[in-house]
C-alpha cells in the first residue's frame, strides 16, 4: 500500500513539473543572481551590499548566494540561478579556474555573467570581469611609502604579506610591490616575503616569525587590509607599534581601503593604503550585466583604477574610501 501511495505521489510530482514548465507571461521584474565565494572580510561584505543596493536602485530583484569557500557549492548555486532563469549573474569566483565550468553553464543558457573583482583563467568561455588594477594601485601605494622612507635618510628592511598566490589579485599586488621597491634598492632591502594564503592566523605567525628573525624590520606592506589586526598584534608584542613621527615607527601600507585601515590612518599609525573603489566596481558590474543582456559589446575587462590614500590627502579622499563609510 505504501509503495502504491509512493508511486502515485511520484507520478503527481512528475505531472506537476511538466505542467509548470511554461514561462510566466507579461512583464516581469528583472532578476540578477549574485553569488559570492565568501563574506569573510569587510571588503566582500561591502561589495555584496553595494551590488544589492545598486540593483535595488534600478528596481532589479537580487537573488543572493554565498558559497562559503566551496567552489562546488558555488557551481550548484549558479546552476540554481540558471534553472530560475535569471536575467544575469554577478559572481565572485572561488578561484580563477573553478569558475570556468560555471561560465560555460551560463553561456550555454545564454545568461550574461560578470565576474566581480576576480577574473577567470584563460578560457574560451565568455564573461566580463570588473577588477581593480592591483598592480598599479599597489605600485603607487608602495612608491609613496618609499618616498616617505627616503625623507628620513635611513635604510629600511621590508616585509610583504603575500596573499594566496593562486589568486591573480594577490599576484598583481606582489608584482606591484616588487616593482616599486626595485626602484629604491639602495634604500630598501626586502628581508621577508610572508605567505598567508589569505589566512589571518598564518599572517600573525608569519609576521611574528619575521620580526624574530629580523628585529630591525621597519617597513611592512600587506596585500590586504584584513591582515592589519594580526600585524598590529605582532608589532605590539615586539614593542614596535608606534605612530608616525614617533621613534621606532614601522612604515605601514596596505591594500583594500577597509574600516580598520581608515581608523589607522585617522589615528596616525598607517602611512598609506591602496583603495579599491567598491562603489565604482559594483555599479560597473551591474551596468555590464545589463548591457550584455541587451546584446551590447562590453569589454572583457573593466578596470577600477582605485587611488592611494595617505596622511597628505586623507581629508579630501576619505569620502571616496569605502572603509570610511561602513560602520565598524
Amino acid at each position: 500500500m505504501n509503495r502504491l501511495i509512493t508511486g502515485a505521489a511520484a507520478l503527481v510530482i512528475a505531472a506537476f513539473f511538466s505542467s509548470c514548465n511554461t514561462a510566466p507571461s507579461g512583464p516581469k521584474q528583472m532578476t540578477i543572481g549574485v553569488s559570492f565565494e565568501t563574506l569573510q572580510t569587510e571588503y566582500w561584505v561591502a561589495g555584496f551590499e553595494a551590488i544589492k543596493s545598486e540593483l535595488k536602485k534600478r528596481n532589479i530583484q537580487a537573488l543572493e548566494a554565498i558559497a562559503d569557500g566551496d567552489a562546488n557549492r558555488q557551481l550548484e548555486q549558479i546552476n540554481n540561478f540558471i534553472a530560475r532563469r535569471v536575467d544575469g549573474i554577478i559572481a565572485v569566483p572561488k578561484d580563477a579556474k573553478t569558475i570556468i565550468p560555471m561560465i560555460k553553464a551560463a553561456n550555454a543558457a545564454n545568461i550574461p555573467i560578470v565576474l566581480y573583482n576576480r577574473p577567470a583563467d584563460q578560457t574560451d568561455a565568455k564573461s566580463v570581469a570588473v577588477v581593480a588594477d592591483n598592480f598599479a594601485i599597489t605600485k603607487a601605494t608602495v612608491e609613496y611609502m618609499c618616498e616617505q622612507a627616503k625623507k628620513t635618510g635611513k635604510k629600511y628592511k621590508a616585509a610583504i604579506l603575500l596573499g594566496d598566490l593562486g589568486d591573480i589579485n594577490a599576484m598583481g599586488r606582489r608584482d606591484g610591490f616588487e616593482d616599486a621597491v626595485k626602484q629604491y634598492s639602495d634604500l630598501i632591502e626586502v628581508v621577508a616575503r610572508i605567505p598567508t594564503e589569505w589566512n589571518g592566523e598564518k599572517a600573525r605567525a608569519g609576521v611574528t616569525n619575521a620580526l624574530q628573525a629580523n628585529p630591525d624590520i621597519n617597513f611592512i606592506f600587506t596585500s590586504s587590509d584584513f591582515m592589519f589586526p594580526p600585524i598590529i598584534q605582532a608589532l605590539k608584542e615586539a614593542g614596535k607599534y608606534k605612530k608616525i613621527g614617533e621613534e621606532g615607527h614601522v612604515l605601514l601600507g596596505g591594500f583594500d581601503g577597509d574600516a580598520t585601515a581608515y581608523q589607522m590612518l585617522v589615528d596616525g599609525y598607517l602611512d598609506a593604503d591602496g583603495v579599491q573603489d567598491v562603489y565604482f566596481e559594483s555599479e560597473a558590474a551591474v551596468q555590464a550585466v545589463l548591457e550584455m543582456k541587451v546584446g551590447k559589446d562590453v569589454p572583457v575587462k573593466i578596470l577600477d583604477l582605485g587611488f592611494v590614500i595617505h596622511q597628505g590627502n586623507l581629508k579630501e579622499m576619505a569620502a571616496k574610501m569605502w572603509g570610511a563609510q561602513v560602520e565598524k
Binding site: 543572493e64 562559503d68 546552476n79
Partner: protein, 356 residues
C-alpha cells in the same frame, strides 16, 4: 520450550505461564512497533511525504522550482552527495560514523588530478590517463577506509576520533601536495564522467544508480548485509552469534571510502579541477541526509531508499531557498534546524521501538 525441558508438575505450569506472558508482552511490543511505524511521523516513508508536502507548499511561491530544467538541476546536484551519503549509511548501520569522507574526497581529487592533468600530471596526455586517474582515486578511498576500519577494529579506538584524525591528516596531505593550488586541464574523457551524458542520461546518474542498486542488494539480500545490521543492533551479540565483526566493520569503512572516492570523481569531473578543499563543507549534509532519511545514529537501522529520500529533501531545501533569494545564513539555519529535528526524531523513535 523451556517448560518442556525442565518441566516437573506445577513448576512446569508456572514456567509455561511465565513464557506465555513474556510472549504476549513481545507480541504487544511488536504490535506497538508496527502501529508506531504506520504513524506518519515514524513511518519509513515519512521523509518522502514531507518532501512532497514541502515541494507543493513552496512551488507556487518559488518561480522556476517546478520546471523540468530545475528537476534536472536538483538531480544533478544530489547525485555525488547521494553517493557519499550511501557510504555513510553503511557505516551508520554498524553504529559507527565516518567523518573523514570530505577529506577523502579532497585527497582523491588532487591525487587523481596529479595523475591526469595535462599541465603537470604524471600521465598527462597519455591515453591511459583517465583510467589510471580513476583507479588511483578509488584506491585512495579504499586505503583511507581500510585504515579507518583497521584502527577501529584492531586497536579498538572510537570511530569518532579515528575518522576525525584521518580527516585532518588527509586534508593536510591534500593541501601539502598541491601547496593549496587547484589542478586544471584534466582529460575531457574524465570531465565527461561528471558532466557528460549518453543520449539524455547523465553518466553521473548511471554511476549513482549502479552503486545504489549494488548497496541495496548487499544490505537487503546478502549475508554481509545481515551482518552489518547485526553489528549495529548489538555488536557483542553479533560476536556470540559468529558474525565476523572485525572483518565486516572494516568492509563498511572501505565501502564508505570507496563511495567518497566515487563522489570525488563526479565532483572533480564537473568542476574540471582537482581541488585540495573539494567537498570540505558538505559533512553536515552527508550525515544529515542519512539521518533525515531515517538511518539511525545508534546503529542497526538504515536503508538505501531512505538515504535517497534524505538527500532529495536536503537538496530540495538548498535549491528552493536559494531560488527564493533567501540569504545563505538563513538557509544554513533552516538546514541545521531540520537536521536537529531529524536527530531528535531518531532518538524518540529509538525509545519508542525499545518499548519504553
Amino acid at each position: 520450550m523451556t517448560s518442556f525441558t525442565c518441566a516437573r508438575s506445577g513448576a512446569a505450569v508456572k514456567v509455561v505461564m511465565e513464557d506465555s506472558a513474556k510472549q504476549r508482552r513481545e507480541e504487544s511490543a511488536f504490535v506497538f512497533e508496527a502501529k508506531a511505524l504506520r504513524n506518519p511521523f515514524v513511518s519509513e516513508y515519512s521523509i518522502f511525504y514531507l518532501t512532497i508536502l514541502y515541494f507543493f507548499a513552496l512551488a507556487p511561491f518559488t518561480p522556476g522550482l517546478a520546471s523540468t530544467e530545475n528537476a534536472a538541476n536538483i538531480f544533478s546536484n544530489l547525485l555525488p552527495l547521494l553517493i557519499v551519503a550511501l557510504g555513510q549509511t553503511v557505516v551508520l548501520i554498524t553504529g559507527g560514523i565516518d567523518l573523514s569522507v570530505t577529506s577523502t574526497i579532497a585527497l582523491s581529487s588532487v591525487m587523481g588530478a596529479m595523475v591526469m592533468s595535462g599541465d603537470q600530471g604524471w600521465l598527462g596526455g597519455s591515453r591511459w590517463a583517465t583510467i589510471a586517474g580513476v583507479v588511483v582515486m578509488l584506491l585512495i578511498g579504499a586505503v583511507v577506509g581500510l585504515f579507518n576500519g583497521a584502527a577501529i577494529t584492531i586497536f579498538r579506538m572510537p570511530a569518532f576520533i579515528v575518522t576525525l584524525t584521518t580527516m585532518m591528516f588527509a586534508s593536510g596531505l591534500a593541501i601539502w601536495l598541491t601547496k593549496s593550488k587547484t589542478i586544471y586541464n584534466l582529460p575531457p574523457s574524465f570531465n565527461a564522467i561528471g558532466k557528460g551524458s549518453v543520449f539524455i542520461v547523465p553518466y553521473a546518474l548511471v554511476v549513482t544508480a549502479l552503486l545504489a542498486v549494488a548497496l541495496h542488494v548487499m544490505l537487503s539480500r546478502s549475508l554481509a548485509g545481515r551482518w552489518l545490521y547485526a553489528i549495529g543492533h548489538n555488536a557483542k551479540a553479533a560476536v556470540v552469534s559468529g558474525v565476523p565483526v572485525g572483518r565486516t566493520t572494516r568492509l563498511a569503512y572501505v565501502i564508505s571510502g570507496l563511495c567518497a572516492a566515487a563522489a570525488s570523481i563526479l565532483y572533480t569531473g564537473r568542476m574540471e579541477t582537482g581541488s585540495p578543499v573539494l567537498g570540505q563543507r558538505i559533512l553536515l549534509d552527508v550525515i544529515g541526509a542519512a539521518v533525515i532519511g531515517g538511518t539511525s545514529l545508534f546503529g542497526g537501522r538504515g536503508k538505501v531508499i531512505w538515504t535517497v529520500c534524505g538527500v532529495l529533501f536536503i537538496t530540495l531545501i538548498d535549491n528552493s531557498l536559494n531560488m527564493l533569494g533567501l540569504s545563505y545564513f538563513f538557509i544554513m539555519m533552516v538546514k541545521g534546524g531540520v537536521i536537529l529535528l531529524a536527530a531528535l526524531l531518531d532518538a524518540w523513535r529509538n525509545r519508542l521501538l525499545a518499548g519504553r
